[in-house]
């Protein structure tokens, strides 16, 4: 399963780290809060409550950002009738790892499609760099295997 291709594709920003490379800082904070939450689905006020503890953030800001994430296809929502009345509740379309895999996959596919030969040459010419990359990849794989045990 991947992010709906009809929605906005994630933009990769090489200057940012981790999730913020694909999402804005606030979007990343909101998604992290939603992924880490045990409660599903979540209303805007629930997310606002969890973010309020670490940063001064307006309720309306959270509301409009979650609405934007819904329009991007990263969140889904439905109307729920509850204590506060009728309101939207949200849940992530993909869990965190799946989202990252999908986003990275989109970027890599695009790079390979447009610059496949350049990538191959880069890896061949920069053998030292490629060794570092290979070593890094092996370390990551080993860690994953150990976690799997």
């Amino acid at each position: 399963m991947s992010i709906d291709k009809k929605s906005e594709l994630p933009q990769y920003n090489i200057e940012r780290k981790d999730l913020e490379a694909f999402l804005g800082p606030l979007e990343a904070s909101i998604m992290t809060a939603i992924w880490n939450s045990k409660k599903r689905p979540l209303a805007v006020r629930d997310v606002h409550e969890s973010l309020k503890a670490s940063k001064d953030i307006a309720y309306t800001t959270v509301m409009s950002t979650m609405n934007r994430l819904y329009e991007k296809g990263i969140l889904d929502r439905q109307i729920e009738k509850g204590k506060g009345g009728l309101y939207y509740v949200y849940w992530p379309v993909l869990e965190e790892q799946a989202f990252k895999k999908s986003a990275v996959g989109e970027v890599l596919s695009s790079l390979m499609e447009n610059f496949g030969e350049v990538i191959a040459n880069y890896l061949t010419e920069n053998s030292a760099s490629s060794e570092e990359v290979s070593k890094k990849l092996k370390d990551i794989l080993n860690k994953k295997q150990q976690q799997g045990k």
Partner: protein
């Protein structure tokens, strides 16, 4: 059963409060027919009669217990003896047959009265002291930070300044249904908006809604609602009180519309906002009963869908019609109003006279409350009661006993609890010993 109901409810407190209340509202209807008065005056006229039961309570405190007739069933007697004036028989063991007795039972009117007073005081206290906390918990509204809807906060401050009132706090509820309401009054006042409302109205319409809610605060409508709810609770057994209270609330809504227009100077914007809100509201599911009850008691809510006669809000077409004729009211006709006032006073006085006469009858009945058991005591004789019937009407107790008496002594000695009477005849016994 009818007798029992009559005794229970025919107390001055009960019929005075019901009949005088009805008379007062008929008078008000007659008065309003003849003259054009402001919505503020109408709302006060509709609430004023609800204080009547409070005065009647002081003048005619209800009784909390009444005396009821209890008839001893024939099958519960010890034994039957034959009463015959012609036969002779050996003396039998003395038997006392208690025919009827009286017991004291709680009075429904007294219970209703006490319940009404408790309800009135409790409701008033809850509304004044806890309304904000209850509403906050029930509606889960959020207090806005300075960065939330800055335009809205500016408008509220600006319009509050124009109305010369302290800018109220602002709350937000995450509800797709468009709504806005005020809670509490004075410095504790708060206006709460729903996200649904803020999404659909434009700048002018938002100003109109804000002005309407601020007008409620300016007019002290929360206090008015608190008092009228408490007075309605005092007459909770009287359906007329609910109709009158709802009608008074609707008048306050009209008043808030007028006041709001005076500040916004844009009746079109208010009409447009109301129409838009009503249209969206109709397509949404109704709110829960708990929220509705809380809103009815504790807030000034903008839109509630209920049958119009019991709704605290006028129908949309009535509001739009009222908005369109603001500043175009017909002049007050003094002669007609004077005629209406005199007719109203006469009507109330006539009603008071009628119930006062009825009170006299009722007082005679209730004052006779020292009954003693009525029994037939035939010492050393044999007697047989073949039929027995006892009825009680307005303090007069009629006892019919038929049968035969075995005795060599004539006439048989029979005592009734209240007076000596002759067997085989109707015993008409007065209410007093």
């Amino acid at each position: 059963m009818l007798q029992s109901l009559f005794v229970q409810f025919f107390q001055p407190y009960f019929y005075f409060s019901i009949i005088l209340l009805a008379a007062a509202y008929i008078s008000i209807a007659v008065f309003l027919r003849f003259g054009t008065v402001s919505h503020r005056t109408r709302s006060l006229l509709l609430i004023a009669p609800l204080v009547i039961p409070a005065f009647i309570f002081i003048a005619y405190p209800p009784q909390f217990s009444i005396t009821e007739l209890v008839k001893t069933p024939l099958e519960s007697t010890q034994s039957f003896f034959t009463l015959s004036s012609t036969q002779t028989a050996a003396p039998q063991t003395p038997v006392t047959l208690t025919l009827i007795s009286f017991v004291t039972v709680p009075s429904v009117t007294g219970i209703l009265c006490v319940s009404a007073v408790i309800l009135c005081v409790s409701l008033f206290a809850v509304q004044v002291l806890f309304s904000e906390k209850i509403i906050k918990r029930l509606f889960r509204f959020i207090s806005l930070s300075p960065n939330d809807y800055p335009n809205l906060q500016c408008k509220v401050s600006e319009l509050a300044r124009k109305l010369a009132i302290v800018a109220p706090k602002i709350g937000l509820i995450e509800d797709l249904r468009p709504n806005a309401f005020t809670v509490s009054s004075g410095r504790k006042a708060m206006i709460v908006f729903s996200t649904g409302l803020l999404d659909i109205v434009n700048e002018d319409e938002l100003s109109a809604v804000i002005a309407h809610e601020l007008a409620h605060i300016k007019n002290r409508d929360f206090l008015f609602k608190t008092v009228s709810s408490a007075l309605t609770a005092l007459c909770f057994y009287n359906p007329l009180a609910y109709f009158a209270s709802s009608a008074a609330q609707r008048e306050r809504e009209f008043l808030a519309d007028e006041k709001g227009i005076g500040q916004v100077a844009n009746a079109t914007a208010l009409s447009s906002a109301l129409a838009k809100i009503s249209g969206v509201f109709k397509s949404m599911p109704k709110e829960s009963t708990a929220r509705f009850l809380a809103a009815n008691l504790l807030v000034r809510s903008s839109l509630l869908r209920r049958p119009s006669i019991l709704s605290s809000h006028p129908q949309l077409n009535q509001r739009l019609s009222n908005i369109s004729v603001v500043n175009q009211k017909a002049p007050f006709n003094h002669r007609k109003a004077l005629t209406a006032t005199l007719l109203s006073i006469l009507l109330v006085l006539a009603s008071a006279g009628v119930v006062y006469q009825a009170a006299g009858v009722q007082q005679r009945y209730l004052s006779d409350n020292t009954f003693r058991p009525i029994s037939i005591n035939c010492t050393g004789q044999a007697f047989n009661v073949s039929s027995f019937n006892a009825t009680s009407t307005f303090g007069m107790v009629n006892v019919n006993v038929t049968g035969t008496l075995n005795t060599t002594v004539a006439p048989a000695f029979i005592t009734a609890g209240l007076s000596t009477a002759t067997i085989n005849q109707t015993l008409a016994i007065g209410g007093k010993p």
